[in-house]
């Protein structure tokens, strides 16, 4: 089987949560000389991103998303030992994430958390209705690279602007990048409040997080 076909099969096995096929195809890929990092970046990650996209279209459901994430995590863990240290996918960056205070919507935020985690980010989740000072405290505690906030209502999204101010007042705004998301958020909103990035969905959150880390 060609490398392209192997990678395609790995992607599909994540989407279908086909554990046996996933592990077997990964083994085949490695035996065929593919690097573990390539299997992760071109097979597993795209598969997981497709899972996120299908969930947001209503074609996959939450249990499947969770099982797919679990499968990918297990495979990535099994590959860690096969990668040279400089290619280790752990520690892509440290992210503090939460739904801002006054807002209890968290499903989308949880999907973002999962995708960031399986893509090698260390994620600290503050949960829903998270006080803004908790974002700041946690960012300091874990030496965060990215502070990501979610808001699902126009009334609560104002807190994302307040968070920018709090990070400045705490003296850490210069060393963290901020990302915003949620239904009422737009790139225009991110620019208005001075956030570094806006992500429309979970897949984009991963790519934007990587861009933010690369730009450091």
């Amino acid at each position: 089987m060609s490398n392209e076909k192997l990678l395609e099969t790995i992607q599909e096995s994540i989407v279908k949560v086909d554990r046996d096929t996933a592990f077997q195809t990964v083994e085949s890929a490695l035996a065929q000389g593919m690097q573990a990092i390539e299997v992760i970046e071109k097979g597993l990650s795209p598969g997981m991103q497709k899972v996120g996209d299908l969930f947001e279209r209503g074609e996959l459901f939450l249990p499947q998303v969770m099982m797919a994430a679990d499968l990918m995590t297990r495979i990535v863990q099994s590959l860690q030992d096969k990668m040279p240290p400089e290619q280790n996918t752990k520690n892509q960056g440290v992210v503090v994430i939460g739904t801002v205070e006054g807002d209890v919507h968290d499903i989308g935020k949880n999907i973002v958390k999962i995708l960031l985690s399986v893509n090698g980010f260390e994620v600290h989740d503050l949960g829903r209705d998270a006080l803004l000072n908790k974002f700041v405290e946690k960012a300091k505690e874990v030496n965060a690279n990215i502070v990501a906030s979610s808001a699902l209502m126009t009334g609560t999204m104002q807190s994302q602007g307040d968070l920018e101010k709090l990070l400045k007042e705490a003296g850490i705004r210069d060393r963290v990048k901020t990302m915003v998301g949620g239904a009422p958020c737009t790139q225009y909103w991110a620019d208005k409040i001075g956030a570094n990035a806006y992500a429309e969905n979970a897949s984009e959150a991963v790519s934007k997080a990587r861009e933010l880390m690369a730009a450091r």
């Binding site: 939450l62 099982m67 499903i107 949880n110 009334g155 909103w189």
Partner: protein
């Protein structure tokens, strides 16, 4: 020539006629692909283009196309002072507010709802509800609708007895999470039924089960089961307004009448509502803030038209902040609201809004 249009977040932009036409086509096609339904015909798209490029700030319909309004917010927008409702914070009571809505503003229905707006919370203040509703009913003529949400999220700790299903699944306890979610359904159903029964005692005309499906497929199922029971026991009129264009699959396997609810789009949702005995169905199409209003309105009409085609009950699509093609803005702009409403009536053939 440049036309003033808006983005999905309400910002004013300028677009050429050709750009608007392309966005209309793209919005239609997006809905067609997502819902596996027909796109609007070329004639319909051209008509939509005419409506959206008309110079009037406020659009309207011809007399034979007038429709009725029902509401999930109603008089709250007069005395409420909270941003999500675009409230103006006039210090009046709900009775006076409803009289204003009916007598001065010509609304087709009057409304009452608890500010917490969920059936579970309403239980604690039900006698207050009954007293206020009785006063509203004695001072108004139009049908009175009581609105509330199933809000399955209100049954998670600390507000309720159950562990959060999302948290359980994130911990790998997927089967446990699904079992907890299944148990939530009947709790929510019981509360919807009980609150509604208490309100029938003072003569409420209609219950609006609003944002149905906001907490996923179990949220939708609890509402459908509640409708069935209320219809059998009380004969109460029921309006069901959805929360999202598709039913989010928190469980993925919950069924109603042999149909899996997760992933359903409006044209499938309405058939479940009909089966349950719902009298008025309010489909929702979500606004994409990254796209233009022409894109969003075209998309909303495409979904709603198919829903209307298959429906045997009146449709009152939700049109407001972030739904029905309208911008996600606390006070959706009047040009977008009226043009979208005109298009929805003329092209989707809805019975109300």
């Amino acid at each position: 020539m440049a036309y003033k249009e808006r983005m999905g977040d309400g910002r004013l932009i300028e677009m050429s006629k050709e750009e608007i036409r392309r966005d209309i086509e793209a919005g239609c096609n997006n809905a067609a692909e997502r819902g596996k339904i027909p796109a609007l015909s070329e004639d319909a798209q051209e008509r939509l283009l005419d409506i959206l490029t008309s110079p009037e700030r406020v659009a309207s319909v011809e007399p034979e196309n007038t429709v009725v309004f029902s509401t999930d917010n109603g008089c709250h927008s007069l005395y409420g002072n909270f941003s999500e409702a675009g409230g103006v914070g006039i210090p009046i009571d709900s009775v006076t507010a409803n009289m204003l809505m009916e007598r001065a503003l010509g609304f087709d229905s009057v409304f009452y709802g608890w500010l917490d707006f969920c059936f579970k919370a309403a239980k604690a203040v039900i006698t207050q509800h009954q007293q206020e509703l009785e006063s509203i009913l004695m001072n108004t003529v139009s049908p009175c609708i009581y609105g509330a949400m199933p809000n399955l999220g209100g049954y998670y700790k600390p507000d309720g007895p159950f562990d959060n299903v999302g948290d359980l699944m994130a911990e790998g306890k997927i089967m446990e999470g699904m079992e907890v979610y299944e148990r939530l359904v009947d709790h929510a159903k019981e509360d919807i039924v009980w609150v509604s029964e208490q309100l029938t005692r003072v003569g409420i005309d209609c219950i609006n089960i609003d944002t149905t499906g906001a907490a996923g497929d179990g949220d939708f199922l609890s509402s459908l089961k509640a409708c069935e029971e209320l219809k059998k026991q009380t004969g109460l009129s029921i309006e069901m307004g959805m929360a999202s264009e598709f039913v989010m699959g928190i469980h993925g396997g919950l069924e109603y009448d042999g149909n899996v609810l997760a992933g359903m789009y409006p044209h499938k949702q309405v058939k479940m509502a009909e089966k349950a005995g719902v009298d008025i169905f309010g489909p929702v199409v979500n606004t994409n803030t990254r796209q233009s209003t022409p894109w969003n309105i075209a998309r909303a009409i495409t979904f709603t038209k198919e829903c209307s085609r298959v429906a045997n009950i009146p449709l009152h699509p939700n049109m407001g902040m972030g739904v029905g093609g309208l911008p996600m803005a606390e006070m959706p702009p009047v040009d977008a609201v009226t043009k979208a409403s005109k298009a929805m009536v003329e092209l989707a053939g809805v019975d109300g809004i």
